[in-house]
Amino acid sequence: MCNSNIYMPYPMRVEKVTNEAPGVKTFRLNFINAEDAQQFTFKAGQFGEYSVFGTGESTFCIASSPTREGYIECTFRQSGKVTSALTNCEEGDTIGFRGPYGNIFPLDEWKGKNLLFIAGGIALPPMRCVIWNALDRRSDFKDVTIIYGARSVNDLVYKHELEEWKNRDDVKLVVTVDPGGETPDWKGEVGFVPSVVEKTAPVAANTIAIVCGPPVMIKYTFPVLEKLGFTDDTIYTTLENRMKCGFGKCGRCNVGKVYVCKDGPVFTYKQLKELPDEY
């Protein structure tokens, strides 16, 4: 490892493209080299650098679960240069991936607890990794509740998986859309995530809350959770900041002396409270 180029990506085959929502796609990526597939491991919460050769690299999480071996998946919204180039990729194309980087959601520490997942919009992907990881070892945990919200019905991602979770007896799923985002046949909740959390969250005792969403959702959801009795060390989230390297050298992602790429991206609310307001 010491003598290898840490910027070399794994060549990956785009195996499957799924259109999730307007501008949002999921890629299933297979390792082109068998030895890469064999040695690659990661844990829930980690991220990587995805690259389109000739356009550049972009940072996002691994959206598939480590329990599903042999491939990784990523979900992204077309927004910048690299995600636009990714959007134009087709099945069979070769892209680059390097990683995994960053810390993890400590699933092993959560054994025997209830899990409450709260996600908003395009932030379901980093949580989907943990959700499937937990569901694939379901007996380790007690009640599993998923609260997911998006601006509109059209903006909900992983629609098939939402259906799958809805039909499971061992998962409680609450899906909500922002007021005005519902369709005439919408059967889910209508309302912003924080208020739906207040209404539908399970009791805080013996429960871990994992929250991923846009900053405004996070900002209003954390106080609701505290009001419901969650302590700040039982609330987890994942931060994103602009990154180039992924391993503490390029100088962008630090919040004070804390590096999102190395110390995060997973933080507890307690840890966030100790960070300067610079993220």
Binding site: M1, C2, N3, S4, N5, I6, Y7, M8, P9, P11, S51, F53, G54, T55, G56, E57, S79, G80, T83, G92, D93, T94, G96, P215, E240, N241, R242, K244, C245, F247, G248, K249, C250, G251, R252, N254, V255, G256, K257, Y259, K262, P276, E278, Y279
Partner: protein, 343 residues
């Protein structure tokens, strides 16, 4: 290894340089071009400039080039061939005539590029680099190496240090195995040590503060208005980072030529507005005050905390290069004198 002392005459020093050049070695030294003195590859010993205080740019590009190819790719249909960095093509290089603060600037870079993940490209260039520094007999108003734990005759980071001792003689200190290897190739050019104290030949630079005090102060004043006051004239040009021997922040960009291209690493600066800008438009360091604070905190608080090295060697280049005349040492002095009630 323990430092070994020898004497070398001016003419033998010239011969040493000439011998390196004659043997086909790559030698980089300060060269005067237009109004600037810059580190450049030389072909003749006569090109070396020796009457300058400091080069405009540091020598960091020898281990961390301004733009470098990390990998190359070629697309053929849906297939992509990736070519690794050519490690074996990195030439052995002798840096001749650097200052102790140039050599000292490599310690922060070594720290950053080896923080957990080892950057093999940087390390290869570093391993191939032998540093022959010259002690300072003059300094200017921007110099503050002594406040950063260095000094005009500091040996840290150099493989060999030459201190001019007058009357055509120099004290030669062999500091590392690389320095020793060079010495052993040209032993006949060196003589026994004179036993003279090199301090008497060095310029004197007052120590104004120390790094532990700065660390405590900048941390205590994180929320202070001082960052805004000091950066009000900063235009975010990034010159300070480009001339700095210890600034390592970089960007990664692809350079495409038809079906093939390169992935490049390029110098970047925390002073640029675009540096931390998210695609969404959100910018965690949205004001120049926050960017200036990041620059100072990174060097004097975060790096000491995380990798146990101060991100500054006190060379003063940032102060000399700044078009808005922001002087780092002066700004640090202001912070050192601040009292709690003035937050």
């Amino acid at each position: 290894m323990q430092t070994e002392n020898y004497t070398i005459t001016d003419s033998n020093l010239q011969q040493l340089l000439q011998a390196l050049l004659s043997s086909g070695q790559k030698v980089v030294a300060p060269v005067r071009a237009n109004n600037k003195v810059l580190f450049k590859e030389i072909k003749s010993a006569s090109e070396v400039c020796s009457d300058h205080v400091q080069t405009t740019l540091s020598a960091k590009h020898l281990a961390f080039p301004r733009t470098e190819v990390l990998l190359q790719y070629k697309k053929t249909g849906k297939e992509v061939t990736i070519n690794d960095f050519p490690f074996d093509a990195v030439p052995q290089t002798f840096l001749w005539g650097s200052r102790p603060c140039d050599a000292g600037g490599f310690a922060p870079l070594d720290g950053i590029f080896n923080w957990d993940s080892k950057d093999a490209i940087y390390n290869k260039r570093r391993e191939q680099l032998t540093i022959i520094s010259f002690s300072c007999t003059r300094h200017d108003d921007a110099c503050f190496c002594t406040s950063m734990g260095g000094g005009p005759g500091n040996t840290a980071g150099s493989d060999m240090l030459i201190t001019p001792a007058g009357n055509g003689t120099n004290i030669a200190e062999i500091i590392t195995d690389k320095g020793k290897a060079l010495f052993e190739n040209y032993t006949s050019l060196f003589e026994e040590a004179m036993g003279a104290d090199k301090e008497q030949y060095l310029t004197k630079i007052d120590k104004v503060f120390d790094t532990a005090e700065i660390k405590a102060k900048v941390e205590a004043f994180f929320e202070s208005k001082v960052w805004k006051e000091q950066s009000a004239r900063c235009m975010g040009c990034g010159a300070c980072a480009y001339v700095c021997p210890a600034c390592a922040c970089f960007d990664i960009q692809d350079d495409k030529h038809g079906s093939k291209g390169s992935r490049l690493r390029c110098w970047d600066s925390c002073g640029f507005q675009l540096f931390t800008l998210h695609t969404s438009g959100h910018n965690p360091r949205e004001t120049q005050a926050r960017r200036w604070r990041q620059r100072v905190m990174h060097k004097f608080s975060y790096m000491p905390d995380r990798i146990n090295v101060v991100g500054c060697s006190g060379c003063g280049r940032c102060s000399r290069a700044c078009p808005a005349d922001m002087n780092l040492a002066e700004h640090l002095e202001v912070i050192m004198k601040m009292e709690a009630e003035k937050i």
